[in-house]
């Protein structure tokens, strides 16, 4: 177990496959972040070689319907048999096997919730179409994550329950020689696993490592314990030793890390690490000192071996981000993309079925209507035949009545998303920042009744940053806002570019973005991060012109104490509504934005009507 190679990812991936094959439902699964290609196929083929031959490996399509996933009434069979015939559903059919979730980064949050429920209960509860069933569903999941951007991740509720988060590089070669494991060894380990014990000491070590790495969810630690037991079973032992624990920590805890252990030591006394606010340090973080401080601190910790193993498995990029971005990185990881998934892709994807009349934008769902009508056929036929004699032709018809009609509910495409772009630089007075924060929260409280979304981009120093991906959650908004520091330069061009990209992406999903730019319009940092007022101004204006090209509703709120020419000019260039609000407080600000948003939404839906 100890001969893990220098390049951790490759062997990690092989080890994850081996451990997962021993206990798929106990370990939940693997999140495999890799592009489609031979490397991923190789890993999957390797996994298939290790799984028992009778275990089915089935692919879950991204667009699977809730009905197919959970089972229900089998319409065709029911109608032809004249008695209820159940469709077992995908999850129950996969019992004892492994489910491959294609494009897991785009998995709708609802489907993820069903997978999570099945993983937790190891069975599936179905209450659908007049059928009630409890079926075993001992499944393991391989989430095929093809995401590229940092925030393109499978839903957090699912990730939390998958033991291994593996990232495969494009050129990775899978070296399974380190593991030297075949199907026979897996079978042996499966038999041995129930007898494997874990000592209090090692349990404690794993828990401590989880805490030190900031793995908040206790499920992560539980999965690490299970992984350690599996590792011991694979090695043919009845007791978990330190090597097993180190392997498990590296595979399970490392990728979940939200802070590096060095930081953990500083606030070890903190009872609730997830609540500790990010240090609002106005100075630019210094990347250079990272490498010097990390190693020695690791060596000092008591559980150094396990911790070192997990720390080595922390993705290199994450480590740097944690240092530079504080807890911002942690929040975006923890929250996943739940907000974005909750609304599904707005592009005509059905959001649910309900009974009702077609029309007014609701489409008749033929299958569901027939399914609703099916149970009644006998009753209706009996009622009809007692009244009058039926011809042969009508006897074979399916009698559908108004009560049976089912319509597909589509997500409203006119959902609006307000993107706040907040100038947090030194030139914008700090109390303005507080007002902007207040306005965002007020709007959000409103939005969540109206089912709209809010996103927040802040810019200061050298770059603009998406602090809050589009969300309806007050909780997340408050957290992001609380951690927003002020001071530094004004990289206005970068901010406008970021907002433009986000707005464009949202529009592709069928939403109506509205950009609210809060700034004094005085740019002094260029896109490259150079401090030059003239160049920065020119760049900002050119970015503004590009923004105008998108034809979005934009509002520019001048935050300077007195109306500034620079801000007004910028508003002109991006065809924004200019609001000089020298005395504005959060309430009046949010009111102005609301009226503008309403106009945008009206215009947006009119536009769509003309297109369709």
């Amino acid at each position: 177990v100890s001969d893990r190679s220098a390049d951790p990812t490759d062997t990690d991936a092989a080890w994850a496959a081996a451990l997962f094959a021993v206990d798929p439902s106990g370990l939940g699964g693997v999140s495999l972040r890799a592009a489609f290609g031979p490397v991923r196929d190789g890993w999957l083929a390797g996994l298939r070689d290790l799984l028992p031959s009778e275990a089915a490996v089935r692919k879950l399509p991204l667009n699977v319907s809730e009905g197919r996933l959970l089972g229900g009434l089998d319409l065709t069979a029911t109608l032809s048999a004249g008695r209820p015939v159940a469709d077992r559903g995908f999850l129950a059919e996969a019992d004892g096997g492994v489910i491959l979730v294609a494009m897991a980064e785009r998995l709708p949050v609802m489907i993820a919730a069903h997978l999570a429920a099945a993983l937790d209960a190891k069975m599936i509860a179905t209450e659908r179409d007049g059928l009630s069933a409890r079926l075993p569903a001992r499944i393991g999941i391989v989430a095929l994550d093809e995401g590229i951007a940092e925030d393109e991740r499978p839903p957090a509720a699912l990730l939390d329950r998958l033991a291994f988060h593996v990232e495969l590089g494009a050129k990775a070669t899978l070296d399974r020689s380190g593991a030297r494991i075949d199907r026979l060894a897996i079978e042996g380990a499966r038999t041995l696993l129930p007898k494997v014990r874990i000592s209090e000491e090692i349990l404690r070590t794993l828990c401590a490592a989880g805490l030190a790495l900031g793995v908040d969810s206790i499920r992560g630690t539980q999965l690490a314990v299970q992984a350690a037991r599996v590792a011991a079973a694979l090695d043919g032992r009845h007791n978990v030793n330190e090597d097993d624990a180190a392997l498990a920590a590296g595979l399970v805890l490392g990728p979940r890390a939200t802070r590096i252990p060095a930081e953990a030591e500083e606030d070890a006394g903190d009872a609730e690490p997830q609540e500790s606010p990010p240090p609002s340090d106005p100075a630019e973080p210094d990347d250079g000192k990272l490498d010097e401080t990390e190693q020695p601190l690791l060596d000092r910790l008591p559980e150094d071996m396990v911790l070192a193993a997990s720390a080595a498995a922390i993705p290199a990029g994450l480590l740097a981000q944690l240092k530079t971005r504080g807890t911002a990185a942690k929040q975006s990881r923890a929250a996943g993309r739940a907000g974005a998934f909750a609304q599904g892709s707005g592009r005509g994807r059905p959001a649910g079925i309900r009974s009702g009349m077609p029309g007014k934008g609701a489409r008749l769902n033929l299958i569901e209507t027939l399914r609703a009508a099916a149970p009644w056929q006998g009753v209706r036929r009996a009622a009809a035949s007692s009244g009058e004699r039926l011809s042969r032709a009508t006897e074979r018809c399916i009698d559908v009545r108004r009560d049976d009609w089912r319509v597909t509910r589509l997500k409203q495409r006119s959902e609006s998303a307000t993107i706040f772009v907040v100038d947090a630089s030194g030139s914008s007075a700090l109390h303005r920042l507080a007002e902007a924060k207040g306005a965002v929260e007020l709007l959000l409280a409103d939005c969540y009744v109206r089912r709209d979304r809010v996103a927040l981009i802040a810019f200061r120093g050298k770059k603009a940053e998406l602090l809050l991906p589009p969300t309806r959650s007050l909780v997340r908004a408050k957290r992001s806002l609380a951690g927003l520091p002020g001071g530094g330069g004004t990289p206005l061009a970068a901010a406008i570019d970021t907002a433009k990209d986000l707005a464009d992406a949202l529009r592709r999903k069928g939403q109506t973005p509205v950009i609210v730019l809060l700034t004094d319009g005085r740019a002094n940092v260029t896109r490259e991060g150079k401090g030059s007022r003239a160049e920065a101004d020119a760049e900002a204006l050119s970015s503004a012109r590009q923004l105008r090209g998108l034809g979005l509703t934009t509002i520019l709120v001048d935050t300077s104490p007195r109306a500034s020419a620079a801000a007004e000019r910028l508003a002109q260039e991006c065809a924004a509504q200019y609001l000089a609000l020298p005395q504005a407080d959060a309430v009046s600000l949010s009111r102005s934005v609301q009226s503008a948003t309403a106009t945008a939404r009206g215009a947006g839906s009119a536009q769509r009507r003309s297109v369709s």
Binding site: L70, A125, L211, S217
Partner: protein, 370 residues
């Protein structure tokens, strides 16, 4: 394999639909619940559930919080903890023989003819799984009889099954809007009405709504939020000792379920006795005018909308006093229960950085002293 096939049949084919969720029926598929008393920490959550078990009129519990904090575990564990209750024998809605008005039409007819036979049943804790369709929630045509015999018969749904028990919705914030509407309506009236093509059924459906969820997946509709009597926030424990305990017990439970249950049996019985004693004492717990005034002042200070908050606060404090074995409601009870009873009813004030729980605590400190 036959067992599996069978369980796919409509519930009443395999066993009575009314008890399908009960542990006594030993549904082989249902996992054994983790013992309630073995849950480490999370005192607020456990207390709220026990109070709801003592006084059902409090109106449900909402558990909101971090992932992996044992929210579902605690609620599912509650079923095993609750003492059995009396029900009319042969009644498909488990009507209460002692109840005057809230019985189904069958029981009303039967009662006119003579005394009702009773039987002991377990308190139902019914899961409303995500993806449940409306027909299964409110009840629908009995499929088998309709298809095979052309008969119109009513097959009770989850709301009927949960009557006099608990209805649990995991990931309550992901529940479809039209199902939320149904739940709100039935929870308010205590009665489920089905009108469809000649089927006209009304039956009592009084249940304690228990919901859990993660606020990061979306917020709850204010109307639904208000319907929960108590709301507790759960957090991942941050100290090593607690975490070790959680992991250790879970590991023990999974490795030797029967042994683990046996080990905690005594604790479970003790807790059950406390609940039984609390219920017996509930009616005699004295709520003095001074306590009512305290509660009213607190609600005014916090600006909670409507009287529901005040009522829930008093009821919860009384149930808590009963659980503790105290004779009257005092400041200590109000203090302990104020945050769960009130914090989800505060008008949102996004400009106040403090969380709603902190605001309740602040108001308590001002009114009752530190």
């Amino acid at each position: 394999m036959t067992g599996v096939e069978q369980s796919m049949l409509p519930a009443h084919w395999a066993s009575s639909p009314l008890v399908a969720n009960n542990a006594s029926e030993a549904d082989s598929v249902m996992a054994t619940p983790f013992p309630f008393s073995a849950i480490v920490g999370q005192e607020d959550m456990k207390l709220a559930l026990m109070i709801a078990a003592i006084d059902r009129s409090i109106g449900g519990v909402l558990v909101f919080g971090d992932r992996g904090t044992g929210k579902s575990t605690a609620i599912r564990a509650l079923a095993a903890l609750l003492p059995r209750m009396n029900a009319v024998a042969g009644c498909r809605y488990n009507c209460d023989p002692a109840s005057g008005s809230a019985v189904c039409s069958d029981c009303k007819t039967a009662r006119d003819k003579g005394p009702l036979k009773t039987r002991q049943i377990e308190v139902p804790v019914v899961d409303l799984p995500l993806g449940a369709t409306e027909d299964r929630v409110v009840g629908t045509l009995d499929l088998e009889r309709a298809l095979s015999h052309g008969e119109k018969a009513f097959e009770p749904g989850l709301l009927a099954r949960a009557h006099r028990g608990f209805l649990y919705i995991d990931e309550v914030n992901l529940l479809e809007d039209h199902l939320v509407d149904v739940l709100l309506d039935v929870a308010a009236s205590g009665e489920n009405v089905v009108e469809r093509e000649g089927l006209s059924i009304r039956h009592p459906a009084r249940f304690v709504l228990v919901g859990s969820g993660n606020p990061e997946e979306g917020e709850l509709r204010p109307q639904l939020l208000d319907r929960f009597g108590l709301s507790v926030e759960v957090r991942t424990p941050g100290d090593l000792a607690t975490r070790v305990d959680v992991v250790r017990r879970r590991d023990d439970f999974e490795r030797d379920t029967a042994g683990f249950i046996a080990k905690w049996q005594k604790q479970e019985a003790k807790l059950r006795r406390r609940i039984v004693a609390g219920r017996a004492r509930l009616a005699s717990v004295n709520v003095a005018d001074a306590a009512l005034e305290r509660a009213a002042r607190l609600c005014i200070a916090l600006g909670t909308d409507g009287l529901r908050g005040e009522l829930t606060l008093i009821r919860a404090a009384r149930a808590f006093a009963a659980l503790e074995g105290d004779e009257s409601v005092g400041d200590a009870h109000l203090r302990r229960i104020a945050a769960p009873a009130l914090h989800h009813r505060l008008r949102r004030n996004p400009l106040d950085d403090a969380g709603s729980t902190v605001r309740v605590e602040r108001a308590i400190a001002e009114l009752f002293g530190p």
